[in-house]
Symmetry: C2
Subunit: 453 residues, 2 copies
């Protein structure tokens, strides 16, 4: 059966066992039951179309995949599935400075796009922590945010149009090149965050910004406890200040980062990192400094951009520091910004009651927290599943988050990891409507089955 | 049959012939074949639910309606239809300054919302020209933009969540109170711009901004011809400047406004109005002045905010001026910003070739043009349809717009007026998928039939 596809695709179809084994995991710590049937390493749109036509004809489940850096298991390949990767489709098809847009293939890495844009004085704003390794297609699949989306918007606000391959192999163009438009339903927005369940994104028309951010001021403040830091963060946004980045690190996170970087971060209970930019950077920074001080923060202002970068390097080292600790379950809840102190209090309670260490960082400016449940010290023996007691603690976390008016996932997606809580947030009616929409795009259910729903 | 609904709704159900006759029209100049069956003037969500339950049980078509200010015929009631109006559901349910959000009923008028927000120092940014008369629900139905969306975003960027009544009367809550989230498909975005075809929006959770815009600088420039003005507008956005408003008026529009306001606007061939705000207002205004001059514009800077308001009052008088001219077909195409000069050249050609006067204003900062096809002088005799020769000219316009990479409608919607061009823009596959989505929400097809599709 596969030979038919091989005849059409040649070396684009990969069945090497080592390559297939790698597709069983992503960065979520999950690992599937067994290797997928095969991998299509598409170089062009026609390869994706051929793969989907074949899968549709033979009723083979398809897992769309980019760089495999997802944190919710959405791109994990299982036995009997065909993984269709766009990771080798990395071309920049167009850059228009006049219209502030770019057209790119889905496999282009986020940071590579920005490297290509820089000579044109342009910038693609969504900056997930994975920006050096994750693809634009993957960013679209999960509606990725990042450190600067608090001011510059998430992926949904940065995508004008898409080209997608449907379940039966047809190519469909959605959206537009204009900044406004309301001709029919917004299918582009529907695809963003759909985690490969509606079609395979092969190309995107992206809305760009100018690279010049003007003056950039970076502030850092140590706090005596995480409650004070969370209150300060909520007070900054409540004051109407819109920093370019506003990051919070708790004591556990700081300790792990200090160990990883070999830095003495002291016995800091919590730290806030704030960046302001543009014409109002200095005025906003002064207002932020006053708020930090009023909440008991010991604040310092970076002398220059290099020192600012070094301060943020501490934050960017969080994920590597966690990997060094061993296996972690990386969570991604979001709450209304005013509920940030309550959410941190709940995390403290869950740590104590469940006896689990939960280092947490937060994109505090938009109420998005990443609590990392430390499962085990890494012993080099390979993968570790998520034990029941960790899921019990995560369940406690999700319920607190929903109670505070929050959401299960701010920017990582549902994937495999959060399916069981989907109805708790959305309700039965909304889930049934969503399944109805999926059936419109994928009537035979071959697209990423078992993910999200 | 209707008596059953009357028993349930009492005076909320209106069958007065004068009231029903008014529902045959909106602000599009279209008028339906006959008055609808009845009007439900809902005061609360339960009224909308009762109306939909009844309509669903009796297979009666439902037309959701707000203030009836639509420009595409989307809320026009026809014979045999039940109009469900949310115009009397005008409560502000919650204002949270800390979380920069408000929860409001759908019938609240846009300007009334901003009046309620002002004492809290908050602002809802989407500002359609109809802001004094159009409702938040209507703004959501058409994804309304306005003068300032070039910098502050359209309706889709300002809505966090919705409550909607489904075709069978069930109430469904969509979206969230958090600024980020990716749990399941974005049904909120799907409803925005859906023109009453998926459900009845009864409540919205809106994302707010701070009212304080900082310094506001207003510039005005007269140009020797519209091509120069369009080129200047494209040059301003291409320079990376993001004005708070950037409006273009052509000679015909200026002449009509001058007559309406009793102002001597001279024999201006075109005018650009530019507003910059915030900490960079002065720097950006200086850069804009240089670009205006380089393109042959005779520019002036308003001495103060009052003079700035007077300059913009000229632009805001456009629609009243058009109403004074008689019946007009108000169009709403959008093109990539760099194509603005080409689009204005096409409008000039269409005016000459079709012998029709087409006064045009443009939200030039986002490439959205409103060409107004003047049909006839108003003789007081009532409604006038759109003659075939005007549709032929409009058809020419739409084809030019699509050829330039544009879209049929930037912010008014498809409604009745643009159905016939829908497939030209979207293609057959996308239209079929959209109809499939509609069927998921509205399996028996009672929601606003004949609109959009």
């Amino acid at each position: 059966m596969l030979e038919q596809l091989r005849a059409e695709l040649g070396e684009v179809l990969v069945t090497d066992p080592v390559a297939l084994d790698a597709l069983r995991a992503d960065k979520s710590g999950q690992r599937s039951d067994g290797p997928p049937l095969a991998l299509v390493e598409a170089r062009e749109v026609a390869h994706v179309q051929a793969a989907l036509r074949w899968a549709h004809a033979h009723d083979v489940p398809v897992v769309p995949r980019g760089a495999g850096t997802g944190l919710a298991g959405g791109a994990i390949g299982r036995s009997g599935e065909l993984v269709v990767s766009t990771a080798r489709m990395t071309r920049v098809l167009e850059i228009s400075a006049d219209d502030e847009l770019a057209v790119v293939e889905a496999g282009l890495v986020n940071a590579a796009l920005n490297a290509a844009l820089a000579p044109h004085g342009l910038w693609y704003a969504p900056d997930p922590a994975s920006r050096d390794i994750s693809t634009i297609g993957g960013n679209i699949a999960t509606n990725a945010g990042g450190l600067m989306c608090v001011k510059y918007g998430v992926t949904r606000e940065a995508v004008l149009g898409l080209a997608v391959v449907l379940a039966d192999g047809r190519l469909l163009r959605l959206g537009r090149r204009t900044v406004k438009g309301v001709t029919g339903y917004d299918l582009t927005a529907l695809f963003i965050g759909s985690e490969g369940t509606l079609g395979v994104v092969v190309e995107a028309t992206l809305r760009l910004r100018r690279l010049d951010r003007g003056e950039v001021v970076t502030l850092s403040a140590a706090f005596p406890d995480v409650a004070a830091a969370a209150a300060a963060a909520a007070a900054i946004t409540a004051a109407g200040i819109r920093p370019a980045a506003l990051e919070l690190l708790d004591a556990s996170a700081l300790e792990a980062i200090g160990a990883h970087l070999g830095l003495d971060l002291g016995a800091r209970a919590a730290q806030l990192l704030v960046q302001t930019d543009g014409a109002a950077a200095a005025v906003e920074a002064a207002a932020v400094l006053a708020i930090l001080g009023a909440h008991g923060g010991a604040a310092e202002r970076a002398a220059d951009a290099d020192e600012g970068e070094r301060l943020f390097a501490v934050r960017r080292a969080f994920h590597p520091a966690m990997e060094r600790l061993g296996t972690v379950l990386i969570e991604d809840v979001a709450v209304p910004r005013s509920a940030l102190p309550d959410m941190f209090a709940a995390i403290g309670r869950i740590e104590r009651e469940h006896g689990i260490r939960i280092p947490t960082v937060a994109h505090a400016g938009d109420g998005n927290l990443h609590p990392n449940f430390v499962i085990t010290a890494h012993d080099g023996s390979g993968e570790v599943g998520v034990p029941d007691e960790v899921w019990a603690a995560a369940d406690d976390l999700f319920r607190e988050c929903l109670r505070l008016g929050g959401t299960l996932t701010g920017e990582h997606g549902v994937g495999l990891l959060k399916r069981r809580w989907l109805r708790d947030e959305l309700g039965d009616d909304a889930v049934e409507l969503q399944r109805g929409i999926k059936a419109v795009f994928d009537p035979t259910g071959i697209l990423n089955p078992g993910k999200v729903f």
